[in-house]
């Protein structure tokens, strides 16, 4: 009885394998014609899924708008895991025959997929990976978001200009948090300020009371908080209020999510360092298409897709041609003025965003 069942399961699995195999070859034959395949990869499951979906929607918006007849888009989930990212990149390169990819978001995933892209001459444009290591990942690796050094320098200078001298740092013990904290520490001390507390928490944790009480004891004028998951941001801000910490709160990009506004009056006055806001035109387009404000990274993904589309419109068909075209192009994108330097990075601009009356308001210079 059980043996029979197993046999049936294996038969079904085999069937799936065969049909899938057939579909597979048909597709690749088609691809040999003159269809250019573009990949979109990112986390659509797991803790960073909200960002992944936003980036995917942003990029799809650009492809839908351009509606190029010779472009086909494939989407794959990388779950923010390095192994998955390498698998997806291998699949996109050899099965789908992609020439360019929008993704990944998480720096670690981008770094794991990058060598495969470089080896196969496929362009990668990340809309969200900010690790400084990505600059040196290869000539095929681009990004439409400035690296950590950009936000770190901006944050340190902003806190200095606002007259804060004793600052505490609270950040996730991951690639993003450490990268940002290192740069802020270096720059802020150089400006004459003092980092009075330097605390980390594990990604995904929701209880930061120990770290916060150490920070409270250090009595800082301001706290700079780095968080890149919405749940953690909410938990963290709630605990800061509960513990009656009166210092000015500064936050990184990831705090600019709608869910923190639900905390009401306690988050009023929080200042977030954020990449320059998306253009009004893009915000309108995004609202029309998806019925909500564009979340973080949607505009950057839109620009990454736009850059690839522009390269194709200029006649590029292979990864190598797209790469060459990217180094020469310059345009006003949804996230700002896009021009790639010799490492494939964009300079980007930052602004301070304050929470005022329950919304995010960009502060004037």
């Amino acid at each position: 009885m059980t043996k029979g069942k197993i046999f049936i399961i294996f038969l079904v699995a085999l069937g799936v394998l065969f049909t899938a195999g057939c579909a597979d070859t048909e597709q690749s034959e088609e691809a040999v014609e003159d269809v250019i395949v573009i990949g979109i990869m990112g986390p659509y499951t797991g803790g960073a899924a909200a960002y992944g979906n936003a980036a995917k929607d942003g990029a799809m918006l650009a492809f839908d708008e351009a509606d190029l007849p010779n472009v086909r888009v494939v989407v794959e989930d990388t779950k923010s895991e390095t192994r998955e990212a390498a698998t997806v990149m291998n699949k996109m390169v050899s099965v789908d025959n992609v020439q360019a990819v929008v993704g990944d978001l998480i720096s670690a995933a981008t770094l794991a997929a990058a060598p495969i892209a470089v080896q196969n001459q496929v362009v990668m444009i990340s809309p969200a990976s900010t690790s400084t290591d990505i600059s040196d990942a290869g000539e095929y690796i681009f990004r439409t978001i400035p690296g950590d050094d950009g936000q770190g320098l901006f944050a340190a200078n902003a806190m200095h200009e606002k007259g804060f001298t004793n600052v505490a740092l609270l950040y996730t013990n991951d690639q993003y948090g450490n990268g940002l904290a290192n740069i802020i520490t270096k720059e802020f001390t150089a400006l004459g300020g003092t980092i009075v507390a330097d605390e980390t928490y594990e990604a995904g944790s929701s209880d930061m009371r120990t770290q916060l009480s150490k920070i409270r004891n250090a009595d800082p004028d301001a706290i700079y908080v780095v968080s890149n998951t919405p749940d953690t941001s909410v938990a963290l801000l709630r605990q800061i209020t509960e513990m009656n910490i009166a210092s000015q709160i500064f936050g990184s990009e990831g705090l600019k999510v709608a869910s923190i506004l639900e905390l009401g009056s306690s988050v009023e006055g929080i200042i977030i360092t954020s990449v320059s806001p998306e253009s009004d035109e893009f915000r309108q387009k995004y609202m029309d298409a998806y019925g909500e404000q564009p979340p973080a990274f949607a505009a950057q993904a839109y620009d990454a897709a736009t850059a690839i589309i522009m390269a194709i419109e200029q006649g590029a068909t292979t990864g190598e041609q797209i790469k060459n075209s990217l180094y020469e192009m310059e345009f006003d994108g949804a996230s700002g003025h896009i021009i790639f330097d010799e490492k494939g990075d964009v300079e980007g601009g930052y602004v301070l965003v304050e929470v005022l009356n329950g919304t995010f308001v960009t502060m004037e210079e």
Binding site: V16, D77, G177
Partner: protein, 294 residues
Amino acid sequence: MISAYLSAYHTHVLILIFIYIILVVSLNLALGYTGLLNLGHVAFFGIGAYTSALLALEGLTYLAAMIAAGLFASVFGYLLVIATDRLKGDYLAMATLGFSFVVYSLLLNLGEITRGAMGIPGIPKPSILGITFLTNDEYLVFVFLICLISVFIMYRIVNSPFGKLLEATRDNAVCLRVLGKNTLSLKYKAMMISAFFAGISGSLYAHYITFIDPTSFYISELILVLTIVIVGGLASIKGSIVATTVIIYLPELLRLLEMPSSVMGPARQAIYALILIAILMIRPRGLFGKVDLE
């Protein structure tokens, strides 16, 4: 040559399967054959990966770095048994799970050595006797050979008189002690061999993906490896090999299902989970399992 039959993608999946076969069979050696409920195996995998990557970046030749990775992981296997030698069953599981956390924290916080959360990019591809395994095809041949050798050695071990003693330790340690056997020494040996091969597979992994960070060697990885051992069946090398192939390959097959991109990620994971549950409902001891753990 191989690429005439398989795309680089399928080669990639095969490479992962061979790397995980070494990792899973080595865990089965401790968990299935010796009955050590070890939840720290993924830490050995990480230690191997980091050791090998760091040594190779310092200029050590690949083969030496790989052996060093195995040996270093093995040393940690020894230390883990020293720390837990009085524990059994659930308690051993908890303590070894703690070991996973400790190693993860060390990798994360020894920033000076491991670059902490930033991870290590640019790990060189292995090079032996002047041949560098750059492409997936070349790496596949290399990994296949290492996997074959490793599994053969472990197969010989579990089928030797020594292997029977390991199984006896699992089934009735008291009886074995009455017969004058040193069960503690058997535990040490089993754990060290198991850790050695986990270290080797970590090395193969690091030099294949060329980027590692602490999150690659944490809970989700541990769950994956344990799932494979349990689905394959305890104390069955054949089961481990079949289960590794099925569990690594299944999500890739699911990629080929046409689905709208909005539900794709979650839907695939749900189907994947259902299939695993189905397997364990039909075969509660796993595909080829011979024993139950208490």
